[in-house]
């Protein structure tokens, strides 16, 4: 005869190890969940500790206001980060110029004009575009975009800020498009229909109703994309060159913060040298920039959200 449910429950209540499991599991899972917190602490601590060592050798003010970045100089190495920041901003600026109009237009098209069938085709393709490894984009920038640009404007050098800027722009288009589209899709249909019923054209609805209503989401998507562009490494390492420069020239070789870290890591700088510590100082600066952008994005999307 099979035991009754009542018996089974009574039996299982008696089992000690089962109760133990129920008590231990949450603790184990909590420890697992705290790995991500430990990771963040690890990142911040690593960057701070090594950067502090760096500042014992290079004065802090020389680092943040210096306009010459000459770490490999035999005579007197100089560590002024501004040229690397300028390099990063050049690439980011071009990426934004490319990606913002295209990304937002694509988002408007997908949310306001495209039929369900078109959306079903286009959105997965955009996802593919977002999933292409950055090393592939870097190769594309170096072997396709740069030669094409050079054919059009002969003054552009092999390594420049424009080609990687354009390709970083292509890379962040899917991010802007899909996040902005999400924001626009969450604008209630009734508002759109109200405007259409008043005789607005679809463009007027998109431009005067949907975009303003979704503006916080759109801006947040752009800010997040800028953060991605600032942190992008492989495209600039391959196509932007390695000449830190403090000027406004886009056609020649530059260097970004990320590309410097790669250059030093590749060159096997001896552990304990100032150059070794400098990658942490640069990494810390990069971290501060991207974090500021991410926090700004979170703030914009919370603070200025239109609730319906």
């Amino acid at each position: 005869m099979r035991p009754s449910v009542q018996d089974m429950i009574a039996q299982s209540k008696g089992k000690k190890n089962k109760q133990m499991i129920e008590k231990i599991i949450p603790i184990i899972l909590f420890l697992i969940a705290s790995v991500s917190v430990l990771t963040s602490i690890g990142i911040v601590m690593t960057l701070i500790v090594e950067t502090v060592t760096f500042f014992t050798r290079v004065p802090f003010l020389d680092f943040i206001f210096g306009t010459t970045w000459l770490p490999f100089s035999n005579k007197e190495a100089q560590f002024g980060i501004l040229p690397l920041i300028v390099g990063t901003l050049k690439v980011t600026l071009i990426a934004v110029i490319v990606a913002v109009p295209i990304g937002i237009s694509a988002a408007i098209y997908l949310s306001e004009y495209a039929s369900e069938n078109i959306r079903r085709v286009v959105k997965p393709i955009l996802e593919v575009l977002a999933g292409v490894p950055t090393i592939v984009y870097g190769f594309f920038a170096l072997t396709f975009v740069t030669p094409v640009l050079q054919a059009m404007f002969p003054e552009i050098k092999i390594f420049n800020a424009i080609s990687p800027g354009i390709v970083v722009g292509i890379m962040i288009i899917p991010m802007i498009a899909s996040l902005s589209e999400d924001a626009m899709s969450s604008v209630p249909k009734s508002i759109r229909e109200g405007a259409l019923a008043m005789g607005s054209t679809k463009f007027e609805v998109a431009w005067k109703i949907t975009v303003p209503a979704a503006l916080s989401g759109i801006i947040a998507s752009v800010v997040l994309a800028v953060s991605r562009a600032i942190g992008e490494t492989m495209i600039v390492s391959l196509a932007a060159g390695s000449t830190p420069r403090f000027d406004g020239d886009f056609t020649g070789s530059i260097q970004t913060m990320t590309a410097y870290i790669v250059q030093v890591s590749k060159g096997d700088a001896g552990y304990g040298t100032t150059i070794y510590y400098s990658i942490y100082a640069v990494g810390f600066t990069l971290f501060v920039f991207t974090m500021a952008m991410n926090i700004l994005a979170g703030y914009v999307s919370k603070r200025f959200r239109e609730e319906y």
Partner: protein, 292 residues
């Protein structure tokens, strides 16, 4: 109150309709432009690299001579990397998600963990490389081994897996849970036997997409000092290795034109691996996509 002037409306109507049509095609053109970029990229890489693809290319080690250069060490190395990253990141990611969705109380610690995960997702991959270099390579003296790289990559993709798993667990309907409790199951029994099986398609899809990101990441590997030219295969997780994107990076940055072809062939292999992984994700999503 002014009434609408019929004539002004009629006069302006044509212009408004033209603007509407013009912008419709502009927006469409922008979308097509983004898709076109993908087409050009794929077309360029296939036409450049297809000629170099062969069994030899898959079976040879890297070489100074472009015509002999192969991708064996990198391909096997990437597989080794995945053997560390997949279990580590999935256990950590799904465990965190179960904790956050099923056990965590609504308090400050939980909010902090959640916020922390979303911030972690925004940290550039090169910074994760610096973390790996300091903690795994130096402090734990794992060297530039598969294990050190695997742990670094696991932490990098952890936020993606956590968020995907959280969504999957959240989408399991509450009735299933209640039914399980009603039958006398304990919390852990309910999680293991009811919630996880129901959430597994979402969890797996998210995990595979995260893993395919790990396979294509280059920057952290460079920072933790993974070598490129390797003439042997790793025998264990403590051995050093090279990976597909590292090998492609090395070939792309060489000045000789011939190596560009080799790099393109390497990219085709990498993209094939990614395509394979993504198709598995799609199959899982379609096959197990039960609606409750």
């Amino acid at each position: 109150m002014r009434y609408i002037e019929q004539q002004t409306v009629v006069k302006r109507m044509d212009g408004r309709l033209i603007i509407n049509a013009v912008f419709k095609y502009l927006f469409m053109a922008a979308t097509l432009l983004a898709l076109l970029a993908l087409v050009i990229l794929l077309y360029r890489i296939v036409t450049q690299g297809a000629g170099h693809l062969s069994i030899d290319f898959l079976m040879n080690f890297a070489s100074r001579f472009p015509e002999q250069a192969g991708i064996k060490a990198a391909l096997v190395g990437s597989l080794w990397l995945m053997m560390v990253v997949a279990p580590t990141s999935i256990i950590l990611g799904v465990g965190s998600a179960i904790y956050l969705e099923e056990y965590a109380r609504q308090n400050r610690i939980t909010t902090f963990i959640r916020m922390n995960i979303s911030n972690l997702a925004g940290v550039p991959s090169v910074v994760f490389g610096l973390l790996g270099l300091t903690i795994f390579v130096r402090a734990l003296s794992l060297g530039n081994s598969v294990l050190a790289a695997g742990f670094t990559m696991s932490l990098l993709i952890l936020p993606v897996i956590v968020v995907a798993s959280q969504e999957a667990i959240r989408s399991v309907p509450g009735e299933l849970r209640d039914a399980s409790y009603g039958m006398g199951a304990t919390k852990w029994q309910t999680i293991v036997k009811i919630i996880l099986p129901a959430a597994i398609p979402g969890v797996l899809t998210g995990s595979i997409l995260a893993l395919s990101r790990a396979i294509g990441e280059t920057a952290p590997l460079i920072v933790i000092g993974i070598p490129v030219i390797i003439q042997f295969l790793p025998a264990g997780v403590m051995d050093t290795f090279t990976a597909l994107p590292m090998q492609i990076y090395d070939w792309s940055s060489r000045p000789q034109q011939e190596f560009q072809t080799v790099a393109a062939a390497g990219i085709i292999v990498l993209m094939a691996v990614l395509l394979f992984m993504n198709s598995i994700a799609v199959i899982i999503r379609n096959k197990f996509d039960k609606r409750y």
